[in-house]
Structures are given as structure tokens and as C-alpha cells.
Symmetry: D2
Subunit: 96 residues, 4 copies
């Protein structure tokens, strides 16, 4: 198991914040539908899964806004992997 | 109000994960003591505050590991600001 | 000396890429005028300076788009610090 | 074409900076061998390629340190994609 953060930023063209959030919400839906454990934070969504699956998911989430007529997307994808595996619960055990 | 993520990575010298986490936990304590609203995620901690305060906090959190004998620190600090202000609750209103 | 990356993303409202780049170019100008050593990459600009100065610069660069009528800005600021100091040249000595 | 930044941080176990840099240098070698256009910066390496290829490369680069006995790796992977494509040269045309 690895832990990964996905933050998708659809940059253009958005006349309003609402349009932009609608796209981000669709990206979050895709993460939910993946079946992976996930946690939504203000600036990114954290998922827990095997390395191949999280890379595949990040690529699909990054690509989705273009199907919704977005013209420019910047995605930040951060992967934390430990020999032997790591989980969200383990990493946060001192803080929950 | 701005929303900011702080992720401090103390790189060296750590013979064990425990030593490294002890330093990260101290960084999180500093954030808690700031009095700002915060949310702890697996890969970073999100805070909500005015721009000057979150920059000041990020600098102090980044600097703390050196007082604990850390030799190398990489910090990722992400700031999300909206004209008129933004809050964690507002940003997550569709997801909680 | 610390090494820091600054990536400013002015999100809204931009009808065209040109308007958005104009804002980013102004941010890069501010970095050039700082007098710090800098290197411009495709996705961010790297600066070398003391910790207080790079934090102060990052805050000013992040704030500039709002003076240019931008409505939403996300900035990613990454700081790499080593006990005893580190420079861009030292870090890249094997690669240039 | 998309532009992507890859920053691999091998966290443990490193008694010295030299050991850590040796691993990072091997990661950079892998990027060079990919045949993609690349630019090495102080905190990350930027590559230009099609979306599938850059994701595949990022996964391989992230995985390499574990073959070199690293115990913990955090990788930051940032993708910038524009409808119709974008290149490093186009993005930096005002700055070179």
C-alpha cells in the first residue's frame, strides 16, 4: 500500500468559481468510485492503494477535466511509499 | 482568510522511522499551538488564517527540525487565496 | 543559504492564456528584481537566498496577481535547507 | 505533449548526503535514458512527453530507490497539460 495525494487544478476557462468547482467535484467523484480508501482535504484528496492503481487513478482524474471542456489543467500528485507498506491510519495514529 | 498546506519532510539523519515521526509530531504541535484552525491529513496539515500569519507559521514549522538536530529539511507550502477570503469549510461544503 | 521554488498559479478570471501568462511574467519580474540568484524552469522559478528573504519574496510574489485583478491564486512554495547551507550550484554539480 | 516535473526524495536510511545524492543521480539517469526532452533544476527534473509516457516514467523513477535499498520515498509529480499540447520551449519563450 502507498499513500498518495491528488490535487487537480482546472485553470481555464472559468468565468465563475462555481464552474470550476463543478469540475473539481467530478474529479472527486471519480476518486470515490475507484473503491480505494480516500480522505478529502481542503487542497487535495488522499488515497490509499497499490502503486499501479494510484498512478492509474491520478492519470484518469487529471484527464477528466478535458472531457468537460477544460482547456488547461495542472495536477499535483504526491506519492509516499515505505518498504513493507504504509497506510493512512498508521501515518495518522498519533493524531486521531 | 487563506487556506494553506504545510508538509515538512525532515530528511536526515534518521536511523529509524520513529525518530523521524517524532520530529514531524513536534512540527504538528507547533501548528496546534498557533491557535489557527487546522486539519491534519496523511501527507500535510492544512491551516486557515491571514496571509502573514500562515507564512510566519510555515517558516517556524520549517525551522523547528533544525533545533532538534535535523540536518536537512524540505518543506512544501501551498497557499490558496481568493479575493474576499476563503475558508476550509466553504471549500469542503459539498463534501462533508 | 536555502534553495526555494516558487510556482504561482493565477486561476481566475482568464479568457485567454495570454492574460494569464502576463500575470505570471510580472511575478517572474518581481523575482528578478529581488537581486537573489534565480533560475527559471517551465513550472516554477528557483531562488537562492537566506530563509527570511525567500519567505518574504514568496509572499510578495503570491500577492502580486491580486493587484492585477486576479481573483484566485494558488502558490506552491518548496524550501530545501541544509545545516551549513546549500546552493543551487552545489546541488547541481553532478549535472552541469 | 505535456510538461511534467518529477522530484524524488529518498528519505531513509542515509547516514550521509553523498549516499542520498547517489540515489537521486540514478533517478536522473533513468530520466535521461527515457529519450524524452528533459531539463534538470535544483529541486526537480522537468520532462516533456505524451501523458502516458510521463506517468510511466514517473512511476519507474519513483520505484528505483527501493531497488537501491531505500526504505522510504516521497515523490512529487506535477503535470501541466493544455488542450492542443504545450512544450517547455513554448512555456519559456518570454524568458530565454
Amino acid at each position: 500500500m502507498v499513500i498518495a495525494d491528488i490535487a487537480v487544478m482546472p485553470l481555464r476557462p472559468y468565468g465563475s468559481e462555481e464552474e470550476m468547482y463543478k469540475v473539481v467535484d467530478r474529479c472527486i467523484e471519480l476518486i470515490k468510485e475507484s473503491g480505494m480508501k480516500y480522505e478529502i482535504s481542503a487542497n487535495s484528496t488522499t488515497v490509499e492503494g497499490d502503486l499501479d492503481s494510484v498512478f492509474e487513478l491520478a492519470k484518469r482524474v487529471h484527464s477528466l477535466p478535458f472531457e468537460l471542456n477544460c482547456e488547461r489543467v495542472i495536477t499535483i500528485f504526491r506519492i509516499d511509499q515505505k518498504q513493507g507498506g504504509i497506510t493512512i491510519d498508521e501515518k495518522l495514529k498519533n493524531h486521531r
